[in-house]
């Protein structure tokens, strides 16, 4: 019918009852359920059939009692009406002789002495009337009773009526041994049925359960073998039901697993080859790793220097632009001084005094221009060591550099800064950050064509943190670009205007050198906001400034 192939279970493939009974839990469960159901059905059948059978037997007894009673009354009617009690006794003795199930007949006339007739004899009894039920003269009664000796009888009592007149009562006691025998027989038959059911369970149930569970167990064992890695395990269940389908599906699954394993082995082999190759490459790489690392570091250093250099060049560009703007006014004034000097000379009004005044004026202008250069030089003088510095001063330095540019373009710069706030870092780097942000804001408001361009610099201290925000009304940054503005070489400006490294360098300075954060966002009303978040310096940390 079905079998499992493969060598692993070859020793168990033979059919063995003992092998199935104790070990196969599914078999035991199905067998148990099957047997329990049959036993339950048998018990239910017995519970239902016993009362019905009892009722049926009682009805048979009732029918027999009623028939015997009617027969006696009919046969003795003339004798009863003529008080021929001899005939009544005679007839009933004959009834008792012919009907062994009748134990006694009691006839109680309405007037006269009762007669009790039994196989062992008959007698006239006065007290029989008193022993009758109260309703004996009105209606029949019947049922099984136990006499004083504990012997059970089926007692039937009915009035004797002639033409509607009640002549008396007849009471017949029947032997219940046949009834009890039938009941015993019924129990015996039910016992036999139960025994047959048990045998049926043991026999049919065993084979049925075996038929049901064996292929499943076979598949289960094969699955266990498959689980242990034996993909040669196949089951051959030649059935056209779900179990047969399961068997075929199982075999297909095992075949698929076998194919997968073959492929996997191929992959593994390929992978091992690749790993070996990669290992060789890695070994080679390890051998040159130090050199590569040094080369990479050098390259990164070079790129960083390049970035710094580019940053400085950009800053220098900015500075040169700023110097140009700063110098524009004193140069104009110096030109006017020179023109006044020429005019006064031509007019002959150039005196020693006016010459001295104009010389002084010119020297002042040149000094101013020179100080501008010093300022810028100082501003960009690279510091080597971090130190505490006043934030407002650094902010103003940056603003003053951009002041000329702002005035030239009519940009309103507003600064709100607490003079007492101090930061810790390299002031030049921080000023460069502020200058980058101001320059960025300037470009933004100019590019947006804003009629009233303005930049707001606000410094807020929140506990031990300082938040510096630079806002403009230049239209803001496109949301999709907010995460990109700090990337190196990223710029939205026209070619030649921006290097794309100002914000990157600013973020590097703030976050790497000053332990802060630099973030970009948009403000309501159309503008960008760059926020620097830095730890503030406590008074106790900066005794030198105090």
């Amino acid at each position: 019918m079905e079998m499992m192939s493969g060598n692993a279970d070859a020793g168990h493939s033979g059919w063995s009852i003992l092998r199935w009974l104790p070990t196969n839990r599914m078999f035991l469960r199905v067998f148990g359920v099957f047997g329990s159901l049959l036993l339950a059905m048998t018990a239910l059948y017995a519970l239902l059939i016993i009362p019905l059978q009892r009722d049926s037997l009682l009805k048979v007894m009732y029918s027999q009692a009623a028939t015997v009673s009617r027969s006696i009354i009919q046969a003795c009617s003339d004798a009863m009406l003529t008080d021929d009690f001899g005939f009544v006794v005679e007839h009933n003795l004959q009834v008792l002789q012919n009907n062994k199930s009748v134990r006694s007949v009691v006839i109680v006339p309405r007037r006269g002495t009762a007669m009790r007739i039994a196989p062992e004899g008959w007698v006239m009894q006065e007290n029989e009337r008193a022993a009758l039920p109260a309703t004996a003269f009105e209606k029949e009664s019947y049922g099984i009773i136990n006499d004083a000796a504990g012997v059970s009888h089926y007692r039937y009592t009915t009035p004797i009526r002639f033409s509607g007149v009640i002549w008396g009562v007849i009471r017949i006691d029947f032997d219940t041994s046949e009834y009890e025998y039938n009941i015993d027989e019924m129990y015996r038959q039910l016992s036999y049925i139960s025994l047959l059911v048990v045998l049926a369970i043991l026999f049919a149930g065993y084979f049925f359960t075996l038929w049901l569970t064996r292929p499943i167990s076979t598949i289960s064992q094969a699955a266990s073998r498959v689980a242990r890695g034996d993909l040669d395990a196949h089951v051959h269940v030649k059935r056209n039901d779900e179990i047969g389908l399961l068997s075929r599906s199982f075999n297909q699954m095992v075949d698929a697993l076998q194919q997968s394993r073959d492929q996997l082995e191929n992959y593994n082999q390929e992978l091992e080859l690749k790993v070996a190759e990669r290992t060789r490459e890695l070994d080679e790489l390890n051998r040159t790793l130090d050199q590569r690392v040094r080369d990479e570091i050098a390259m990164r250093k070079e790129q960083e220097n390049l970035l710094i250099h580019q940053s400085r060049l950009a800053a220098m560009g900015e500075m040169i632009g700023a110097i140009a703007h700063q110098w524009r006014q004193p140069l104009n004034a110096l030109s006017l001084v020179m023109q006044n000097m020429r005019m006064q000379h031509r007019m002959g009004s150039l005196t020693e005094k006016s010459m001295d005044r104009m010389q002084e004026k010119g020297e002042q202008l040149v000094q101013r221009m020179s100080s501008t250069i010093d300022e810028f030089r100082n501003f960009f003088k690279p510091g080597k060591h971090p130190e505490a510095f006043r934030l407002a001063q650094a902010m103003r330095s940056s603003a003053e550099i951009m002041e000329g540019v702002f005035k030239n373009h009519g940009i309103a710069l507003t600064m709100e800064c607490d003079e007492t706030i101090e930061l810790f870092g390299i002031p030049g780097e921080f000023s460069q950050v502020v200058l980058n942000l101001l320059s960025n804001a300037k470009d933004s408001v100019l590019d947006s064509g804003q009629a009233e361009p303005r930049i707001l610099v606000r410094v807020i201290r929140i506990w031990d943190r300082v938040q510096i925000s630079v806002e403009d009304n230049g239209g803001g940054i496109a949301p999709e670009l907010l995460n990109k503005v700090f990337e190196p070489y990223f710029t939205t400006k026209d070619e030649g205007k921006g290097s794309g490294i100002g914000l990157y360098m600013s973020k590097m300075i703030v976050e790497n050198n000053m332990n802060g954060r630099l973030e970009a966002s948009n403000v309501r009303g159309g503008g960008a906001r760059f926020t620097i978040n830095l730890p503030a310096v406590r008074k106790s940390d900066s005794p030198r400034l105090q």
Partner: protein
């Protein structure tokens, strides 16, 4: 009771025949039906035929079908013609219809208590002696020749003339038990009842003994009012073979079983001499009737 007893006799008889298998001639039984009173006649006929055939087959005997009779005259004619060679009948009936030369000894059941004929009276009827029967209701068995002759003889002795006119009524019942019941329930004042029937009635209802009294007791040597006899045409040798075979049945388990079932104590030889008391009673009756001027009954010898 009578039915059982005579069935016993027949059964033992047939078994006895079996013991002499191959030696006895075919037996033809004539059965006088009034011998059995407490069983319907048809039942008697069917059952007797069945049992006898069964027993005969088991004993490998040659057997003629049993014949039943209501009239002893016919039975006698058949025996004279050789149609039957063994009879079972009432002793008084045989005494009335057969001469002793026509019969030979046979066998039958023996009871320790003889089945006497009793004249039983109801205590409330006020009968203290036979003369008190005047104006009373008397009951007896139907077709019972002994009761008829015995009552007639008693009353002839008492009054010296035929008694029918002195009695209020004479009723005849088919069963012995009916006689007791008629007396008990005041439907008769006196009745002729065989002892076994009366004692059975006493056993069935002790109140019977309180209400009834035995006035006369007629005993006879045969201990039974019935008898089984061979025809005189059956040879002595065959009768002895069959009778000896029957007697041995007292010793066999099957025989004892049959005796126990039918309440007989033993099987004994019944002789023609047992008819003597009946014949004497019959003779006395005839004498008294002759003295009283009454005619003899038809068929009486």
């Amino acid at each position: 009771m009578a039915f059982r007893r005579w069935w016993l006799i027949l059964a033992l008889f047939i078994i006895g025949l079996g013991s002499a298998r191959g030696e006895a001639p075919p037996i033809a039984i004539g059965f006088y039906l009034p011998v059995i009173r407490d069983v319907p006649r048809k039942d008697v006929e069917v059952s007797l035929r069945f049992w006898i055939e069964e027993l005969a087959a088991s004993l490998n005997l040659t057997f003629k079908p049993i014949r039943f009779y209501d009239d002893l005259g016919e039975l006698r004619q058949d025996m004279s013609a050789g149609t039957i060679n063994y009879l079972v009948a009432t002793s008084m009936g045989v005494a009335q219809h057969f001469s002793l030369k026509e019969l030979s000894d046979g066998f039958g059941g023996y009871k320790a208590v003889p089945d006497n004929l009793l004249l039983v009276v109801r205590g409330a009827a006020g009968i203290r002696r036979l003369a008190d029967l005047s104006g009373k209701r008397v009951a007896m068995l139907d077709h019972d020749e002994l009761s008829e002759v015995y009552l007639e003889t008693l009353l002839l002795k008492t009054w010296g003339k035929p008694a029918a006119s002195r009695l209020e009524s004479v009723s005849r019942e088919k069963r012995s038990s009916s006689l007791v019941h008629r007396l008990f329930f005041n439907q008769a004042d006196a009745a002729l009842i065989y002892r076994n029937a009366y004692e059975t009635a006493l056993a069935l209802n002790p109140q019977v003994g309180q209400r009834l009294q035995v006035l006369k007791d007629y005993s006879f040597s045969g201990r039974s009012p019935h008898i089984g006899l061979f025809s005189s045409h059956v040879s002595t040798e065959h009768r002895e073979i069959i009778t000896q075979g029957a007697m041995r049945l007292n010793e066999t388990p099957r025989g004892r079983q049959v005796l126990e079932i039918y309440q007989a104590d033993a099987i004994v030889v019944s002789t023609v001499r047992e008819l003597a008391p009946f014949r004497e009673l019959l003779g006395e009756n005839r004498s008294l009737k002759a003295a009283a001027g009454a005619p003899a009954k038809k068929g009486e010898r």
